[in-house]
């Protein structure tokens, strides 16, 4: 089977999301579709799946023109989709989720659970998915849930499977497992469309790479003949600095001193297990670790969002262990939160309102009860300029900006004031290459001005690129505290996987 998109154009008010895009994918190959956020990848995928209709252009299957007016048509034609955000019912079993909508039924519409289980087991075995049909979705880790999604499309006889940013939610181990499954699917004669902005993964798994830039196909690349830097250039349209440029750190006195910090969940589960470390002024300490090993909770405890059960947090000699978020903020600590949509911004608020989200209640933005909006707007205009936030106006709702520009709003807000400590959690997650470059430069600039910086990232590359010192967290504990120039990706990777533990010094 061959799926071809020819001359696809899709316009939204004020923007051409897809501009004469051509794309072909055959069964038995992996096509990676790369592009920055906003390049039109998702739009194209939604057209392929019948969720949107192209304004111009035509879809062909095996040379025959077809029209998808709804996802049902696309499924019928053998196209399956694995969304970035899973479409599963948490309280249903694996088998129930798989057959949902096409349930095998017995007399009087009774669902034939036994048959569903058999089918699921069969497909699971065939593709090495190792799924238990009776397991409840909510009890499964994310990586396994993704396999359920894959099984769902296989159950519906998909020949061509589209994956939308499939690795974004996976741990390094799960990514390896996922790539194995992709190989199996390819071997068994399925066609794969792999949408991503992670170039390394595209280079590794794809047979061909299609590059989208501002809605246009700017090239087809052969992974064997192109390297990451060249691919990034194609994607962004200009030379890109993938490495972070920085001088050797000149650390000063200890800014943040954490001793024996212990955090437990409301249910009593240990999340951060007696952690001790410090951050000195003028250095970047990176915390590496697979998602869910206590980094989130550590940052929450440091910033006052979660109360610590035990231990102490000291900032320049004063105890801030049980401080509120406001008190931590007022102690000149900046916090770039890990999920900008959830907590970093109020999407419905304007850019200027978001620029003062943490500073609105102090001079010069307000006195007493009264907000000074003129001052707020003036400051916001300056910051938008200074931090290169691409927005139509400062009155634009922040939620309508692209991910990179949303993040720049947060970076501008958090970095423009006098700081002693910067805590940056996943500072570039879901951000385009150009903005990553910029945000990294800002973090290094903060360090060079004498601020202590703590960077938490699940992207090992990011930690290794930024950090002067690398701390590895595993199961709530710090398992390694290493100088960046005396360690390597592979060593840190071993610590992250829990395969190695540092001897106490």
């Amino acid at each position: 089977m061959e799926l071809e998109l020819r001359g696809i154009t899709k316009r939204f008010p004020g923007v051409v999301a897809n501009d004469n895009v051509n794309l072909t994918v055959r069964t038995g190959e992996v096509l990676a579709l790369v592009g920055e956020n906003g390049a039109g990848k998702s739009t194209l995928m939604n057209i392929m799946y019948g969720l949107y209709h192209a304004d111009e252009g035509q879809i062909f299957i095996d040379g025959e023109p077809v029209t998808f007016s709804a996802p049902g048509d696309a499924i019928e034609a053998g196209i399956g989709m694995v969304h970035q955000h899973f479409m599963l019912v948490p309280v249903f079993t694996v088998a129930e989720n798989v057959v949902l909508g096409v349930e095998p039924t017995g007399a009087f519409g009774r669902i034939d659970t036994a048959e569903a289980n058999r089918d699921v087991e069969e497909i699971s075995a065939q593709y090495g998915l190792h799924l238990d049909p009776a397991a409840l979705i909510e009890e499964l880790p994310v990586g396994i849930q993704q396999r359920v999604e894959i099984l769902k499309v296989l159950f519906r006889d998909a020949q061509i499977i589209v994956f939308d940013e499939p690795t974004a939610v996976l741990t390094p181990n799960e990514i390896e497992e996922f790539f194995k499954i992709i190989e199996v699917l390819k071997e068994s004669g399925h066609g794969i469309v792999f949408i991503t902005h992670k170039l390394k993964e595209a280079l590794r798994i794809a047979d061909r790479i299609g590059v989208l830039r501002r809605g246009k196909t700017v090239g087809d690349a052969d992974p064997a003949e192109i390297n990451e830097v060249e691919l990034a250039e194609m994607m962004v349209g200009r030379p890109v600095q993938l490495l972070v440029e920085k001088e050797t750190a000149e650390p000063g006195d200890t800014t943040l001193d954490v001793k024996g910090l212990h955090v437990v969940s409301p249910e009593g589960r240990t999340l951060v297990d007696h952690v001790s470390f410090n951050v000195r002024s003028g250095e970047i300490v990176g915390i590496a670790g697979v998602q869910g090993n206590g980094q989130t909770e550590l940052v929450e405890a440091l910033t006052g969002l979660r109360d610590a059960l035990g231990g102490t947090i000291t900032l320049d000699g004063s105890d801030i262990t049980h401080s509120s978020p406001r008190e931590v903020h007022d102690a000149n600590v900046a916090h770039i939160p890990e999920d900008r949509q959830r907590s970093g911004l109020v999407g419905a608020f304007s850019v200027s309102e978001n620029m003062v989200l943490t500073d609105y209640d102090s001079e010069p933005f307000s006195t007493g009860f009264r907000m000074h909006w003129a001052t707020v707007r003036a400051t916001a205009s300056d910051l938008v300029e200074q931090y290169d936030v691409r927005t139509p106006s400062i009155e634009t709702p922040a939620g309508t900006l692209s991910g990179g520009n949303q993040q720049k709003v947060i970076v501008a807000r958090e970095l423009h004031r006098d700081l002693r400590l910067l805590i940056a959690s996943q500072p570039t997650r879901g951000v385009d290459v150009g903005s990553i470059e910029y945000i990294h430069a800002q973090i290094v600039a903060a360090r060079d001005s004498g601020v202590g910086v703590l960077v938490v990232s699940t992207e090992l590359d990011e930690v290794m690129a930024l950090a002067d010192r690398v701390i590895v967290m595993f199961r709530g504990q710090i398992v390694a505290d290493l100088q960046r120039d005396q360690t390597s990706h592979s060593e840190v990777g071993l610590y992250m996987a829990g395969a190695k533990e540092q001897e106490p010094a």
Partner: protein, 404 residues
């Protein structure tokens, strides 16, 4: 879908000069109508409701339908709507009654709107009104002038009574996680029973009456009449309307000009971001409910010392619930709430005249109200029926679900 998160620029493809003509002009005006404008959707909902109302009026005239008297039916419809609008605006008496009905609707509407803006519900307007009215009427019949002192005190007492009652669900939610929908509904029942009991005590019960009705507030203790200078006793609109307008202005000032308003809006739009930014959710919940109770308490006060002059167990009627529709229709903005309350008040006042003059039952007004709220809740339907440019229904308040 984040790939198309590109800022919406105003559509510039419109307005191409073509062969003039009034129809073409209208078409261009129509194309420019953008549902992001907060006034458009309510206006369309009102128009839709009035159109459906035509059929309801026709059906109410079932005899003529059976006789096949179509001309008579058309006359009934025209007469009914004419009476409705005349009774609402185009006569002094009607306008006066519109203000009477609007006053508590607006105040109670604000009580709901402020909680919507903070991401919460307030089903407890009725209870808060009852408690406010109870406090207010006590001051009203206990003091004996002078009015210039007594009336403001009674108003203030009403506000305090409402606030005290409003704080309870706020406190329960902030400290114990009790969902405010549950607690406010329950507090309505409690307030209602409490008022019944209080009205039967010797301190409140009117001499010589066995039924639960409070002592009368004498004329000096009543809110001054708005049209008192005309010397027409049937014009009972009172200065409570001015209090309500002041409350709406306060609501605007609070939301748009103060740090507390900024916090309330942030809490409503994204509670996680509010917490991250160092705002105190528990404090905001309690303060919001205290102010909501204050607004509703004022509604109760204006009813007892303005319109009615005494308290009964049912003086709040269904206003606390109508207020939810008012806040929804007004999208919880200050101006929107004022306009929505005026509309509901006008329908109520006009409906009386319509029933008297044309025999079309006043219940038509209830149907119109219900239809308006229904259509407001279905923006996609409105857009489809009226063929206006589609834009995601984003302007409304956002709510946390159950168990948040």
């Amino acid at each position: 879908m984040t790939d198309v998160a590109t800022p919406q620029t105003p559509d510039t493809t419109e307005g191409s000069e073509s062969n003039g003509g009034p129809l073409d002009f209208l078409k261009r005006v129509w194309d420019r109508i953008d549902t992001t404008n907060a006034l458009v959707l309510p206006a369309l909902a009102l128009a839709s409701a009035l159109i459906i109302g035509i059929f309801v009026i026709a059906l109410s005239d079932i005899d003529r339908i059976q006789d096949g008297d179509w001309g008579g039916i058309v006359t009934t419809i025209i007469d009914a709507y004419r009476a409705l609008f005349e009774g609402a605006f185009f006569s002094l008496k009607g306008f006066n009654e519109t203000l009477v009905a609007t006053t508590p609707l607006l105040l109670a509407g604000l009580a709901v709107a402020i909680t919507f803006r903070a991401g919460m519900f307030n089903i407890g307007g009725t209870g808060q009104m009852l408690m406010g009215g109870l406090f207010s009427v006590w001051v009203g019949f206990t003091m004996s002038g002078p009015g210039i002192l007594q009336v403001p005190l009674a108003v203030l007492a009403g506000m305090v009574g409402g606030m005290l009652w409003g704080i309870i669900p706020g406190f329960l939610k902030a400290r114990a996680g009790v969902h405010e929908v549950i607690s406010t509904i329950m507090l309505n029942f409690i307030a209602s029973s409490f008022v019944l009991w209080v009205l039967k005590t010797n301190a409140f019960r009117r001499e010589g009456r066995q039924d639960p009705i409070s002592k009368l507030v004498d004329d000096e203790g009543r809110l001054p009449r708005l049209f008192g200078f005309l010397g027409r006793p049937e014009l009972r609109a009172h200065t409570g309307f001015l209090i309500a307008i002041c409350a709406a202005i306060f609501f605007w000032w609070l939301l748009e000009r103060t740090t507390l308003g900024f916090e309330i809006r942030a809490q409503g739009a994204n509670p996680h971001a509010a917490r991250y930014a160092g705002m105190k959710p528990g404090f905001l919940i309690i303060v919001t409910f205290a102010m909501a109770g204050g607004f509703a308490g004022l509604a109760g006060a204006t009813e007892v010392i303005g319109t009615q002059g005494r308290a009964t167990q049912t003086f709040a009627g269904g206003i606390g619930f109508d207020a939810i529709a008012v806040a929804l229709l007004g999208r919880s903005t200050p101006v929107g709430t004022v306009l929505a309350a005026l509309l509901f008040g006008a329908l109520q006042s006009g409906g009386q005249k319509m029933q008297v003059e044309t025999g079309v039952p006043v219940d038509l007004v209830l149907i119109l109200r219900a239809l308006i709220v229904l259509f407001i809740a279905a923006p996609q339907l409105m857009k489809f029926v009226w063929r206006v440019k589609a834009e995601g229904a984003t302007a409304g308040p956002s709510f946390g679900g159950w168990g948040e």
